[in-house]
Assembly symmetry: C2
Homo-oligomer: 441 residues x 2
């Protein structure tokens, strides 16, 4: 008796051949995909505790959000449409000073809820009170790679202390929740950490065999500052520190020289592309078509709700497809299938999990979503890739399975209480602003 | 006894002061808004057949889509990610040749369904078999300004004949469905109609007191062609024909000189901005911040589902906000409230309906939507404009009222059959492709 059998589905496997199985079925046992094939074949082979009829539905790998700061979901819509420096220095950072551990927990729970409801099954996060983010992830049933932000800000003692916190978090949390939670190092950015700290982090990450999650060349200001100050770009600077490598997740990479792209490729450094955040903060449009053409592995991310302002990876896919077409005046760039690859199998590669998630194949972890393809915005259905990227949004996701567990079925979240989290989050957000004495926008 | 009383709502009036009424109520009698105020005050004054409790909900004017080709909803996802010329000449135009009147009806019904489900209450449309589009609009309960496309294509006889069809459509359909349906002239574009036809259209439109809906300077190719061929831009060309004016809806206007912007302002010509379509087809990013700064009235449109690929005005708002921020590297451009103005009151102005719709004020037609603000992507709620533009999508719309009639309540469409339309549309789309012998993508 296996755990779950999904049948009568159109399955976008996202395997190496990008096979699409019509009238397909998936057998899930424990936390892994046991078998994938035609419904008639799979139905004959297995009997299951739970059968899900996915007639007129699309099944695809759960979406992977490679860059966010989940607890900041509590700051959604608090401040927008402002110059970046003013937004950070007068709104976001002062408010963050008042965030308690409990705020971070509720913010993370709210983010987990929104991700489940919009089909994201795994994410890479950087934020404070990491143990509380982990608690939210554990309860929600999602999969995540979490890191604590090392914001050294010119103070080596602070850097050393935070590195201790980050290392301790990795040691105590990595592998928890049935291995759904991984941890990595989070040196915040090239311009907020010293060269010394970055080198220490790199050494420790290699020793502990964990990833490094860092903001790289997000703004023109940062890019120009490095060229002026060091005579090199942020990416060249990292390369000269021997920092780049296959376990490095470089978020943003908006401003890159051709040599930077070459270095990212040569070192097999991974990139998290956040088109919505980069557009909303007016940072720029990352040269993703060039990165992909050079063979760099690029995943997709929403960044935090303070700069997006949601966690809907469907919106992010559409933004990724459109931003690059118009930026190059070439409508053939970033076709739908390639964009979905970024949100699934490439996201898995970015997190070092390509053998575990990102496609629907036997032996992979059972992380998948079922999308309702009988809604007005899904009609007609000529091409599932096209409808997923250009017409769909998060609310079209009906059922979410992570690690073989059903987190949402027919839009009802099973693991955490939607109503309670929404009420609690609004209350915590109101209290936070009141306490901070900063006032609303 | 009035028809409907909505109470306990947060009302974004979009009136001249952009008043937001907390704990507000709206009294609707027949097809108009009778009164707007605090819940306690309005409840005392009126008793209603139907009371809608909008606690924790946002009420705002129905969204206005100022440029689409509704029947093309049947072509959603048929072809994407192709060079514009090849996409049009090998896919879209050949398939359109096979569209029957019935296809246009079903396509329009599907579009109406999707618009209702995503909070659009009024739209400007250009398409063939206009009487069938009108039939769909009538049945759905929506409001629209429809025009028949005059594609002269260098053949004056064809132009003359189509002008007759267009004029006849206006005369027979204008004002139908309790004045929910208006009609206008639809000279397709500056480069598909002769100067003579454009002048005839202009004269007739002025005589009949109707609008003109035309594609203007959508692509760089068109802009350059006019400069080479006539020594002037498409807008200058139209001005020299005395074509521009307050009743002209110029869709796209992606490629504009500073003088073009001046001419659009001086003539009070209206602009429909379609950021998603312009990005997807890689046409470019229209200079909307400049247009707005110059005082040109700009509405928002989705264009057709062949180039978007949905009709969700929430997505369009987000795209409009983000595209211009990144295009100018200025995050303060196109703030949320300004974008919502484009989708409501400015849309009404674009259609010449500013005294009838676009805001929630006494004596205006009762066209409004109720949005569920207690969803994860709406939490917390600091600023309703911000959440509407940056976090929301069409599925957050719960109830839609047009002309005082409830078209959707709690996401159940009351006027047309969702299930039947979805099934019929898929069938018609499949038949169309089969009949055309063009095959899928």
């Amino acid at each position: 008796m296996i755990r779950i059998l999904i049948k009568n589905a159109t399955i976008l496997t996202m395997n190496i051949n990008r096979d699409i199985i019509k009238n397909g079925a998936i057998a899930i046992n424990e936390n892994r995909i046991l078998d994938v094939g035609s419904t008639s074949e799979i139905e004959k082979k297995y009997s299951a505790d739970k059968i899900i009829d996915a007639q007129k539905k699309i099944v695809l790998p759960g979406l992977i959000n490679t860059h966010t700061h989940l607890s900041m979901t509590l700051l959604r819509g608090y401040a927008d449409d402002m110059p970046l420096k003013q937004w950070l220095e007068e709104k976001i950072w002062p408010l963050e000073q008042h965030l308690t551990a409990e705020d971070c927990y509720i913010g993370a729970l709210l983010g987990c809820l929104e991700m489940i409801k919009s089909g994201t099954t795994c994410f890479a996060d950087m934020y404070y009170h990491l143990e509380n983010v982990a608690r939210a992830v554990e309860q929600s049933g999602l999969r995540a790679d979490l890191c604590y932000p090392l914001l050294e800000l010119g103070d080596p003692n602070r850097g050393e202390k935070l590195l201790g916190v980050g290392t301790q978090a990795i040691k105590s949390l990595y592998g928890m929740a049935n291995d759904r939670i991984h941890c990595s190092f989070g040196p915040h950015a090239t311009n907020t950490c010293s060269a010394g700290l970055l080198q220490k982090v790199k050494k420790l990450a290699d020793e502990l065999k964990v990833n490094i999650h860092i903001h790289v060349s997000e703004t023109k200001g940062e890019f120009e500052q490095f060229k002026t100050q060091y005579g090199k770009t942020p990416v060249e600077y990292l390369q000269d520190l021997n920092f780049l490598g296959a376990n490095v997740l470089a978020a943003h990479c908006v401003w890159l020289s051709d040599n930077d792209i070459k270095l990212l490729k040569e070192t097999n450094t991974k990139v998290a592309h956040n088109p919505t955040s980069n557009m909303k903060l007016a940072s720029g449009i990352a040269p993703v078509p060039k990165l992909l053409a050079s063979g760099v592995t690029v995943g997709l991310g929403t960044d935090s709700c303070a700069s997006n302002n949601n966690l809907d990876m469907f919106g992010e896919m559409k933004m990724a497809a459109l931003a690059h077409k118009v930026n190059s005046l070439d409508p053939t760039l970033m076709p739908a299938q390639k964009v979905l690859e970024m949100a699934t199998i490439n996201g898995a590669k970015v997190l070092g999990l390509k053998n575990e998630i990102g496609s629907i194949e036997p032996n992979k972890k059972a992380d998948l979503i079922i999308v309702n393809a009988s809604k007005p915005n899904w009609t007609p259905l000529f091409n599932p890739y096209s409808n997923l990227v250009y017409s769909a949004h998060g609310d079209d996701v009906e059922t979410v399975i992570v690690n073989g567990e059903i987190l949402m079925e027919n839009r009802r979240v099973e693991t955490i209480s939607e109503q309670k989290i929404i009420e609690e989050a609004q209350k915590k957000a109101d209290d936070l602003v009141k306490r901070s004495k900063l006032g609303g926008k």
